[in-house]
Every structure is written in C-alpha cells, then in structure tokens.
Symmetry: C2
Subunit: 315 residues, 2 copies
C-alpha cells in the first residue's frame, strides 16, 4: 500500500461497563460517531480544527483536545517531521455516556496511523488513546477507547499496565442505545460511588463478569442475559437517572436479554437477540423519556466488530 | 445399557477459588480422591459404611455424612424403593482445602445414579452435592462439588439459583498441589475475611476473573498466568499459612504460570504449561515446607476433564 495524502476515519460510539463489567468491558457501536480527516501539509507539526468547537465548548488547543493530543504524541513517537492537519467533525453528543472523547481519539489515531502507512497495529494505538482519556476525564480508562479502536467486545484485564483482550461477539446480538438529554458530569457520576463494597456483592459481580465472557465465547445468549446484572454500580448510579427503572422494565418486558447504563450514563443500552426486539426496546425506552418530557435519541444496530473505520483514503 | 448391581466410583479432589475466582471457580484433579462403591441390597433404603470413619471422625449416620446424605435424597427423588448400600473408602485428607467432602459426595451421587441406569445427567446431580456442602461447611458452595462431578474447569455464575458453566481447559495445562500437614478450620478461614472490600480491588479482581475465563477459551497460557492474581482473599488468608510467600516465589521462580491457595487452604496449587515445570514446582514447594519442618504430600497431573470416574460397573 502506498502512503495516503488524506484519510477520513469514522470513530464509533462505545458502550462501556456493560452492566457487570464496570471499568473492564466495552463494545463498539455502528452509530453514532465522530469523523476525523487527516491530511499532510507543507509545514511541520500538527494543526487542528473543528468547526463546531466554539458551539460545543471543545478545546482547539491541539495539546488539550482529546483527538489531536494523542495524534501529536503518535507523530512524535513515529519520528514524523512533516506536517499534518486534523479536522474533527463532532457528531457525537458530549457527556452522553457513549464515549464521545474516545470516538474522536480513535478516529484521529487511526487516521494519522493510516496517513503514515499504518506502522502500528490497532492494538498498539490503544495506549495513545488511553492517555487522551486521562486528559478528558482525569483517569486512564480503556473501556471506551479500546473498543472504539479495535472494535467488538473488549476486555480490559488491567489498565496499568494496559492488558486488553478482544472477545468474540455473537452475530445476531443487537444493541439499542437511548441517549436522554440530561446533563451528568462523569466526575460526579464517579463521586457518588462508594469506595468500598460488600464482599458478597463483589463475588456476585465477578461471577457475572466471568459468565458474560463465557457467554460471548459460547454464543450463549441466554447465559449472556443472565449475566447482564450489576449489583454494585447500577444501584448507585441509577438513583440519579430519571426513568431508569421504567426504562429497564420496558426493555426487558419486550424481550431484551439485558439492560443497563452505558458508561456512566445518562445513555441506557439494551442487548437483544434480534433487530426486531432491539427496535422495539429502543422505542419503548424512548416512550419512557417522552412521558417524562425528556428529549432523547435512539440508535439500534449490531455490535460494530471492526471499530474505527477508514471511510476515505486518497492518494 | 442394563442396570448395574454394583458400581465403584472415584470422586476427585478439586481446587476451588483458583486465585481470582473466589467462590465462583474450581477445577478437578486426577488425584487424590475418594472411592465409593454402591450396590443393591435386598432390604429397602440406604445404608452406609466407612471403615475409616472412627479413625477420621467421619459421621456414619447416613443423614449426616456428606456422601450418603445427598445419595439418600437422590434415591428418594427418583422414587427408588429398593435397598442400596454405600461404602466409602476415604483416601483424601480432611480439611486440606482439596474438597474432601465434595469428592465423597460426587463419588456417591455418580455411583447411585449409575446404579439406577443414569436417569440424571452429571449437571443434574450437582444440586444434590451442593446441599451436602451445606451440611459440611454451613454454606451452599458449588465450587468444589461441580468440578468433582462434571470435571474440568467449572464456573459458578450463581449459587442461588444454581447456574454453572463448564469451561474449556488447555490440554497441556498441568497442576501441582501440595498439602502441608497444618490444621485449618474452613469456618475460621472464612471468618478472617473482611466483610467489605475496596471497589478498586474488586474491579481488579473481576478484570482477572473475566480474563482467566477468556484465557481458557483462547488457550492462551500467558494470559492465564497474568490473570491468576488474587488481590482480595489471598492477602488475608496467606497470613495464616506458614511458608506461603516462599512457596509462591519457589513455584513462580521455576516457571509456573500461577500460584495460589487451594480452596481455603492449607493446600497450595500451581498451574504450569508442562509436566516438567509442574513436577519441579511441586518439589520446590515441598522443600519450603521441609525447611519449616512441616510434613506435606504433593500431587502433579493434568486437570481432570471427566470428573468423578466409574472404575467398576458389575452386572
């Protein structure tokens, strides 16, 4: 493959935590997502632009932006002396619990890597994005960035040192995501968590995370459904999410395998064994928010197996 | 298959907990184990005998013994009106952390089930043995009895309701078990555990349990090794196990993938990728106890994939 002069990449939204897998599990979605275009320039160093930056309150300083900062580090590590311009098209809602900053970082890293003829593997790009998450939320989490870059379900065995494992995903598994227009701060959402938990609850949780992983390998959707239970984080966080219990009943009532908070919320997700059930679950959850006079948007699709996607590659 | 008149079954020792999998994981060994012989009698009901009962302090009342009590319940549930005699040959050390009562229960249940022409599957026998564990240790745990009956690595997603998942096992995985002659009470060993744990430790633990399961499915022994870490239970229990740290260093120093406490101890186990390393680890751990003037016995073998084994089946 010859080197591209301009690369456009879609960085996908991701569902982190996945009920029982707090801080260790995430999967990628087909939509929504951000678009990053990277092209070579005649100058040197990295420049960055985002048309919606002012409107969305995104920093345009390339050292602070979660798309450009990891890309700059990547260029530096690769010893690239030429110029690169990154343009971010921010389509994803910020503070949605859908990994907005991770989507931008994934798109930027995959674009820049491709621009330089892919010297690094997808897995090797993940640490750069983890560093960017530290900028965005004050802690180095990989449960959004890893699936946004490599796709599918990803297990983060350890964040430090980083140790990620790509898990298989049943083909007929469909996800419904509903993003209610409520403002939650990720930091606040972490602050409400108790610092210690009962050993009994912890055992229940690691039984479920272990079984969830087994279910993915075994393609056993019933086991997957039984495992999608969070006895530790959800009881705390659901308290600050209006409509949570009703949305859960609605989703499970129409046959979804499991339901939970996407990341630290406010978005909610359901996993289902068919597109029909996933569509129904999405509309039922949406109705719950309509009744509460809360606007929301819904997305339904398969789990995105490939992660960030090169949509244009020009020479 | 015609009905047997006499069946002799070997019930294997098991390693429960397996480092990070406290209360949710266990695997079966090839040795040691107990032998139960079941034969039909002309009377009705279940009778029970064990030559070593007095010497070992095992109850011979068939309602209280962990081999006969679940077998009696099984016969009752199956509506069997004839007579059955169970003879237990107790080869396993009691209070070793190797699932001694589970080995007896597994052997008795598989023997009685076979005597009646196997009306139940192995999985269906597990709940009977879980009930027997309640007699033995005051709590209904399946992490010894499930692998003792069905073999291999078994995940217990939930004890109540019982939900068990058989996991694959890498073929070249070898286990070293060393039983030091120290007396620990299981109840005491549970009492020293803290009732609540830091959320951070819990997350580390469920990252490791999830990765351990993935490693078994992926046949990835290096990942298995990285996952065999217990940051919750081992730091507490190892305090009452003389020689623990030295034994760990010795096992890992000669190349074992992981090392930990078997069940609630005092037995220790190591998992290795070859028989040679497993033998070396066993002898190095044994030396640690020799230096402490503690007698011990060692067992080395593959993980036992079939569980309790019918060794004689006479018509």
């Amino acid at each position: 493959m010859s080197t591209a002069d301009s690369v456009k990449v879609f960085g996908p939204a991701t569902v982190a935590n996945v009920s029982c897998g707090f801080d260790i599990l995430g999967f990628a979605l087909d939509e929504p997502g951000d678009i990053v275009t990277a092209h070579k320039t005649d100058s040197s160093g990295l420049s960055f632009s985002c048309l919606q930056a002012k409107a969305l309150g995104i920093p345009v300083d390339s050292e602070l932006n979660t798309a450009s900062a990891p890309a700059a580090k990547l260029l530096k590590d690769l010893g690239y002396r030429g110029g690169v311009h990154l343009e971010l098209q921010k389509n994803m809602p910020i503070g949605s619990g859908l990994g907005s900053s991770a989507a931008s970082a994934a798109a930027a890293l995959v674009a820049v890597n491709r621009l330089l003829d892919s010297p690094l593997s997808r897995e090797e790009l993940v640490p750069y994005a983890v560093e960017a998450e530290r900028i965005a939320c004050g802690a180095a989490h990989a449960d959004n960035v890893a699936p946004a870059i490599v796709g599918g379900f990803v297990l983060i065995r350890s964040s430090d040192p980083l140790d990620i494992v790509s898990l298989p995903c049943p083909e007929n598994l469909h996800c419904s995501v509903v993003h209610p227009h409520i403002v939650l701060e990720t930091r606040h959402s972490r602050d409400i968590l108790k610092k210690s938990i009962p050993l009994r609850s912890a055992v229940t949780q690691w039984g479920n995370t272990a079984a969830l992983v087994a279910a993915l390998f075994m393609n056993d959707l019933q086991l997957l459904g039984r495992s999608l239970q969070d006895v530790v984080i959800e009881p705390e966080r659901s308290q600050i999410l209006p409509g949570f219990e009703k949305a859960r009943s609605a989703a499970l009532g129409c046959g979804a395998l499991g339901f939970g908070i996407s990341g630290s919320g406010p978005s909610l997700f359901a996993l289902s064994e068919s597109e029909a059930i996933a569509n129904l679950a999405a509309s039922k959850i949406t109705e719950v928010f309509q009744d509460l006079r809360i606007q929301s948007e819904a997305f339904v699709g398969r789990v995105n197996a490939e992660g960030a996607k090169i949509v244009e590659d020009q020479h």
